[in-house]
Symmetry: D2
């Protein structure tokens, strides 16, 4: 039984609390910390069997019984709390991204080097999705031979609030970052170069906020595979998360999920149900799976499935994509200072 | 080059004339006969390169150059013209059914016995459809082992005129007859027993005309496979022609075709194009293929793919189904006098 | 919070214990009873937070705190325990079938009449499956107009042990019973008549045990819809549970689920993942949903979604099917004595 | 009736001869010209009802009865024969590309300006494919609103001979040229900029010949839509020709066709038939449709559906892609001298 503290009781903190309390019998949530902890949240948290609540996450770090923390606070606090937790001897599950600033990620990495027994996992939940697991396994099993072309479609059903967009770090660090991770996951290697095309087609306010809402990003990977990611902030038909790996021996594809397999045939044609609406619907199981994997890594003293290096790479790719868009040329990952 | 005469210049006669003139280079249509031959038809027929027109089909039978005839006249003339043509030494392609009266089919069979060199083919065009060919081949290749359950769905987009229904012989002899043939084709053997359920749900006028418009027919085949056919006179989404063969080693299924693979995804879900509307759209290629097969059987002196026995069996099954519906009990094929 | 006792700690009892402990926060399992309760089971049960264990289910019925019981014991005890529980004032969730003997079901019904406040639910879990819920909703919403033809495919991946088959009551009461319920669920009314065709094609031992393993059952429903169910004890490709409702305005279909949407394209064609293997994989969510529905009916004092009458009808249909197979004729439901 | 001469009796010349002789009753092939006309070809050609054969295409141009010519000779002769035919007053259907040299295309364009009554069509057959027609119609009908992202997949089943690759002009002018046309067709406007990524992953000999075999090309269109094309010279599962248009109101997709809808379900999963093998299988109908369209434009004195400007643009895009790959930067179409 692993004793866990959750830092941050926002949406994703609650998702993890729910997963642990209902599906992970070998973990127990002792603490939940949030500076804005209110009565509603407190009631919800207690209903999940969490013993202690606090507004100060240091209470969690100071509790010797706590073996692991889940950092679900705002992005700008991820690296700082990571370092404090590592120093306090806690295993860390940190929501993505570790930071938008490569220097701060570097600081976490250096701290981890000094604490080699600490498990550190980054929250790239899509790797734990049943569809992406299946396509990864097929690639690793050699079903498609050497990967030549990887295609990732990632479109949100609706853009976030403009206020959020302004502090998001831009589409590449906020949204494409998951796809950069997926590219590495499916290719089985790092990216060498990024070339980004972007446009502001969904909402002019996004453009005014200095961001784009539609993008096509091309990558060259170390194993020579070419990757293309396409993003949109607004797919009216729902969350669109597909992948295709094409190689010397064939192709594998994964599609979106729907709530049921219902097909209605009438004069309009044959209509199947729309895709699951957004990440909470699509990835609820994946969120539980990533925490299971983290708890398992601690219990069995294994490497985490998504380490700090995996947390760094997509940030480098995102920064290279920003540079590519700005300078209107392909940018090597090695151009990003680290 | 086989010289052909077509008897009957109605819809199906024209379909065959078109197929031969455009796709069957080793056949030449010398004659087209129709008692109601008018100027429009005559012009159309000439445009297809047909040399001679007549209102009297005996002109065709009397032409020594004619090697084969296609009998596309009204059902009640099929057996009579078949016998005359056989006696005149012509190979015969006869539209289905040969007759609704088993005695008349018997007469054709006896005539054929006396003229063993004559090729005789019945127009069960669906056997030549790309989908049904594919499922048949898979079954014959042993892909699903021994057949246990065969399911045939056959629904028309709209019922025919009530006037037609009154002279059609009833749904089992008019519509299900194709599915009875398909059951034999897919099972690879004859039927032993028929059990029919029917209802009048589409149009009350059909009921008043003494027929049903909705039916489920269950068959026992000689190889012990069970078959179920479901029919409706009105599928608002278009012609529905599917089959499934389930066996000891797996299952094969074939679906309907659409005009394109287009899928539209929007707030309503994912909508693919409706099915091809009716038999002319769905089976146009199959109609050409059956005539190619017939011409080929003559040229290469091979057995036709759908012989007179294959023409008889579905009529027996249809008569047994009628009896089953009327007497409200399963009826053995052997109960139908032959 | 509803306090629950589970009677029977076999496979299905454990499924329900797991569902309640992880997914139903407004229910608490106080007791688990099983005459064969051993240390392994006891440990597992305690791990689910169950407070008390017993070999004698009367302990459960005698506990005044217990508001509801789940009867998951062997079929021959269902009706007896149901009556005892009702008399003890407990709400009852009873696994299907209530009994194979109509008289015993009648006794439960009469007991319920005397205790009108008791909620009684029968375990037809498939009604709570996401796919069957979706097709039912579409039908109720009028998407396909009046139902004309209903098709239900239900095939197991492998037959049970011959020992089980001998005491199962036969395929119609053991396996088809679920499909009979589905027919009523989708048609929205009762059956009037049953006509059954059966064969012994999967395993000769099943035939020797006096049962069939392959069946096609046709039903006439009160609303004139025709239903066809096809069953096999062995589908090598996995659990096959599909439904189609065809009506005056269109058709709705639901298919099987797979573990992922993966498709591999290579020289062999395009291969998608096989279906989920069996009922535990396919219906795990449905099992939780039916218990949620039961707890909800108690809390909100509503009718249960699957009452004792719904438990009776499929047994009548199963007995009529047995009679139909034996007497080789269609059998009216009203012929079964009740 | 339009009298036609075909110049070039190679594979594509024969495809057009076959289409006209079997499916286009309002066109008549009077001539077929080929410098390498041999007995086999001559016999085949005569079998199609072609009246006259020649080794010198000037015979065709000099025949006053000939109204239109189809230029199906080698690429390096397209522009020269085009100009001669235009000057001879013949309508011209010219296989793609008109030339790899923009100056030569310009010469054809200028010649056409002086002969404004001449119809000129370029052989971009894919525009006439049923799937691409369907997606185009859906876009034009506003089904997906404004196009934001267009994705085109185009992969051949196997690379051509190295000898061919050496004279092909490179993958962008030989293979992607069709996709460049498709991008313009689907976007409904011209391209502004091209960014190309390429790799040599299929066969090292292709690299030695100075070409690539795997490519991802990104385009910016005048209407701000972003396009991505992915190409491979070798898809082991067959010819892969798909498209997706994503826009403000939804998404439309078209897939590949198979020979039948057969699906086999067994322990390996559910396997559908592979895609049609290559362009002759996939586009046979489209080849006939483009010629019908050409003949129709002549008869009805309408603009051809794919004019000389449509022949020019993909060549400019191909040259820009070559430059982008070489100079490792995005290249504007306007940089290509014209």
């Amino acid at each position: 039984m692993i004793t866990v503290g959750i830092i941050g009781a926002g949406r994703i903190g609650k998702v993890h609390a729910h997963s642990i309390s209902t599906q992970i019998p070998n973990a127990r949530i002792k603490w939940m910390a949030d500076p804005f902890m209110n009565k509603d949240t407190a009631d919800w948290v207690k209903g999940k069997g969490v013993e202690k609540l606090t507004k100060d996450y240091h209470d969690v770090l100071n509790d010797k019984e706590v073996q692991a923390v889940l950092i679900c606070s705002s992005t700008d606090t991820h690296s700082k709390i990571s370092i404090e937790a590592i120093k306090a001897g806690k295993h860390v599950f940190c929501e993505k991204p570790i930071d938008h600033d490569v220097k701060k990620i570097k600081a976490v990495m250096e701290c981890l080097k000094k604490h080699p027994k600490i498990k550190y996992q980054v929250g790239f939940n899509r790797r734990f999705d049943h569809n992406f697991q299946a396509i990864k396994k097929a690639v690793v099993a050699g079903k498609i031979g050497d990967p030549h072309i990887i295609k990732i479609t990632s479109r949100d059903p609706a853009p976030p609030a403009i206020g959020y967009i302004k502090v998001s770090g831009g589409i590449f660090l906020d949204m494409t970052i998951h796809d950069f991770d997926m590219a590495r996951f499916l290719a089985g290697c790092d990216a060498v170069e990024v070339s980004a095309y972007g446009a502001n087609l969904v909402d002019k306010e996004i453009g005014k906020a200095g961001d784009i809402d539609t993008a096509i990003i091309t990558l060259k990977m170390k194993n020579n595979a070419l990757v293309v990611i396409d993003n949109s902030r607004k797919a009216v038909y729902g969350y669109d998360q597909r992948a295709e790996v094409f190689g010397s021996k064939g192709m594998v594809q994964v599609y979106n999920d729907a709530a049921s397999s219902l097909v209605l045939s009438n004069e309009q044609g044959n209509t199947s149900e729309g895709y699951l609406y957004f990440f909470l619907e699509r990835y609820m199981v994946a969120y539980a799976e990533e925490i299971k994997s983290f708890i398992n890594a601690i219990e069995k003293n294994k490497k985490t499935e998504v380490g700090v290096f995996d947390g760094l790479q997509p940030v480098l790719m995102g920064l290279a994509a920003k540079k590519s868009l700005k300078e209107h040329r392909p940018v090597k990952i090695s151009e990003i200072k680290f």
